[in-house]
């Protein structure tokens, strides 16, 4: 067993896939230098034909990846900032996502978009603190938010091998996490398969990314008093509804903690589907960013807007009442 950090896991997944499949290539800004750590060492190993530093033209190089994918490549794009997904929303949601259906199945677009440091990075303020996974789930682009190094590795590998566009969000709050791993644990994790991080019988808490760790801390804190099951779908879209049905079938209670804005966010989707299809013994609750959130710069304001541990504790207690 060795320690593997979340960042290093993503770096290793990229290296392994570049090694395994000559069609894989990586595009992005400053990835040769490896500023975001994800691509460290890859330029030296694989050369500038496969690890391509791009100018600040996110829209063009995002669709360039689409064009290359149409011709058999499997590009991975690293975006330096989560909101660059806003800038390239047209290229992902309206182009890459739609091509398979619009061509009647003639083409596929196996492009992976990775966003290291999604969500609040302390002090980066309004335009660098988005965590827009719910947007991609809504338009139907496969959307992955790994919580642990092992999952980060396995999910990124699966994303790269997938025939469709996939967005992988690496939350800033998770990138410091480390796992004890041995080599056998580094394997593809299928998209759409949930993971129960901790079993429990009273309340199902759903979380992705760094908030899984918040949920685990709350579960530990409440242990003895309330038995919390920590449910991590790992992919926000497609969602593992069958596994969730099993979990809430057991607990009968539900809390979702979600780092997106409240209205039309991921937590809302979970509550909605559960309301339609499953049975609860108490009204569910969600802990989210506020509606329309713009993260203010000052740390105390930034923190006041992010869903956190105390709010989760309160929500869990409420559904137990």
């Amino acid at each position: 067993m060795t320690k593997l950090s979340y960042t290093k896991a993503l770096n290793r997944a990229l290296g392994d896939e570049l090694e395994r499949d000559p069609a894989v290539c990586v595009l992005g800004e400053d990835i040769g230098a490896g500023i975001a750590q994800l691509t460290l060492g890859l330029l030296d190993r694989f050369g500038p034909d496969r690890v391509v530093d791009t100018p600040l033209s996110e829209q063009a190089f995002t669709s360039m990846a689409t064009g290359a994918a149409l011709c058999g490549l499997r590009p991975v794009i690293e975006f330096q900032i989560p909101s660059l997904l806003f800038l390239t929303f047209e290229q992902i949601a309206n182009q890459a996502h739609k091509m398979s259906l619009m061509t009647g199945g003639q083409v596929s677009v196996p492009v992976t978009y990775v966003v290291p440091g999604s969500g609040s990075r302390e002090g980066w303020a309004g335009q660098h603190s988005d965590h827009p996974y719910s947007l991609f789930a809504h338009v139907g682009v496969k959307t992955v938010v790994p919580a642990t190094p092992v999952d980060a590795y396995g999910l990124l590998v699966s994303a790269i091998r997938d025939a469709d566009p996939v967005v992988v969000f690496a939350p800033a709050g998770a990138m410091g996490i480390r796992d004890d791993v041995d080599a056998s644990m580094l394997a593809p994790v299928p998209l759409g398969q949930a993971r129960i991080h901790r079993a429990g019988s009273d309340v199902t808490v759903v979380a992705v990314g760094h908030l899984v760790h918040t949920a685990l801390a709350v579960a530990a804190e409440l242990a003895g008093e309330i038995s919390v099951e920590v449910f991590d779908p790992r992919t926000v879209y497609p969602f593992d509804w069958a596994a969730l049905a099993e979990s809430v079938g057991k607990t009968g209670r539900l809390v979702v903690i979600d780092d997106s804005n409240r209205t039309c966010g991921f937590a809302g989707e979970v509550l909605a589907t559960v309301a339609e299809e499953m049975r609860l013994i108490a009204p569910p609750k969600r802990v989210t960013r506020p509606d329309g959130a713009v993260l203010p710069f000052a740390l105390e304001l930034d923190r006041a807007i992010q869903p956190g541990r105390e709010q989760l504790v309160a929500a869990v207690r409420t559904v137990m009442k």
């Binding site: 829209q59 669709s63 064009g67 011709c71 398979s100 619009m102 061509t103 199945g105 677009v109 496969k142």
Partner: protein
């Protein structure tokens, strides 16, 4: 339909096919067989045919909202193209794409695009893949004068220039972006913009297919010799409306005199004048027969089964959750 575009007669014949196809399509829009209308290519045939005459079968193109001409010029089967417009399962895209999205990967058409300017970076990506693979393929990307003002297209010029990619930017300057005259929307011009990125560029008479072809041959040869991208601005004109909805709304952005003047330079007549009258008539008849067959084929083809509405949504085969639980 992948017969070559070598002789003057070949060029005429393909332009005639496009013209006839568009006339037929207009008829089927009126009759309601084609739903949603089309952006007719009539008047601009020399551009698509001239450019495609410079391309090899394995070369690639991307197309636009006004894309029927590009698709036919590159060699798609008009029957399957018409079936696509009529929304049939036998269409190029199995009826899923329609007029603005025709794709035919088998003959090198990566797809038409309904978003102005959006195809250019896709073509750049295909050219990048070609360069890496050493396939020797060239990619031509068509766009209108309106596309010159899309940021993503300008970004694409930069990438193509930086990496010396084998891509041919073809600006079909038909004088208008819908109702906006080119000069009102474009400060400077197409050639100057390309040159600012270090891309060799030329403006040509887009009504003369041989002139377009010659310029495209030069550019494609350069690209094949790994000498990088080029831009061709073809001055052309659409004889008809921006879109068939224009038949229902009265617009006055251009004069009848202007239209008449351009019609006097009909690309079919210019090229038709280069072949014998008898041959021209024979080619016209051949095309008429092909189009009659296309109409029969398209209208006799089955409509898609609504149960398959979500087929192909995910290339991985993933099945999306439906809209009712």
């Amino acid at each position: 339909m992948t017969d070559g575009l070598h002789t003057p007669a070949d060029l005429y014949r393909r332009m005639r096919l496009i013209r006839g196809f568009e006339e037929l399509a207009l008829r089927l829009v009126k009759s309601g067989e084609i739903v949603g209308g089309i952006h007719p290519y009539i008047g601009e045939e020399a551009v698509a045919v001239g450019v495609c005459a410079a391309l090899a079968d394995h070369d690639l193109i991307t197309s636009t909202h006004r894309g029927h001409g590009h698709v036919l010029a590159k060699g798609s089967d008009p029957s399957r193209m018409l079936a696509e417009l009529a929304g049939r399962e036998t269409g190029l895209n199995r009826g899923r794409g329609g007029s603005m999205h025709a794709a035919d990967v088998a003959v090198g058409i990566l797809g038409a695009n309904a978003i102005v300017g959006a195809a250019a970076p896709i073509a750049v990506g295909a050219a990048w893949a070609a360069q890496r693979s050493g396939s020797g393929k060239v990619v031509a990307t068509f766009f209108g004068d309106g596309g010159l003002n899309q940021g993503v297209l300008l970004e694409a010029l930069n990438l193509a220039a930086l990496w010396q990619l084998p891509v041919l930017f073809v600006c079909e300057n038909n004088g208008y972006a819908t109702t906006m005259p080119t000069a009102t929307g474009v400060a400077g011009n197409a050639v100057g913009r390309a040159e600012a990125f270090g891309i060799p560029a030329v403006t040509v008479d887009g009504m003369d297919v041989e002139v377009v072809r010659d310029a495209a041959v030069l550019a494609a040869d350069r690209a094949r010799r790994a000498e990088g991208p080029a831009l061709i601005e073809a001055m052309t004109y659409r004889f008809g409306p921006h879109h068939t909805m224009e038949f229902r709304i009265r617009l006055s952005y251009r004069t009848q005199e202007e239209i008449d003047e351009w019609r006097r330079r009909d690309p079919l007549d210019i090229q038709g004048g280069r072949i014998a009258a008898g041959q021209r008539a024979r080619l016209d008849a051949e095309i008429a027969e092909i189009l009659a067959e296309a109409e029969r084929f398209a209208l006799a083809s089955p409509r898609p089964d609504p149960a398959g509405a979500l087929d192909y949504l995910y290339a991985s085969g993933m099945v999306a959750r439906g809209g009712v639980a």
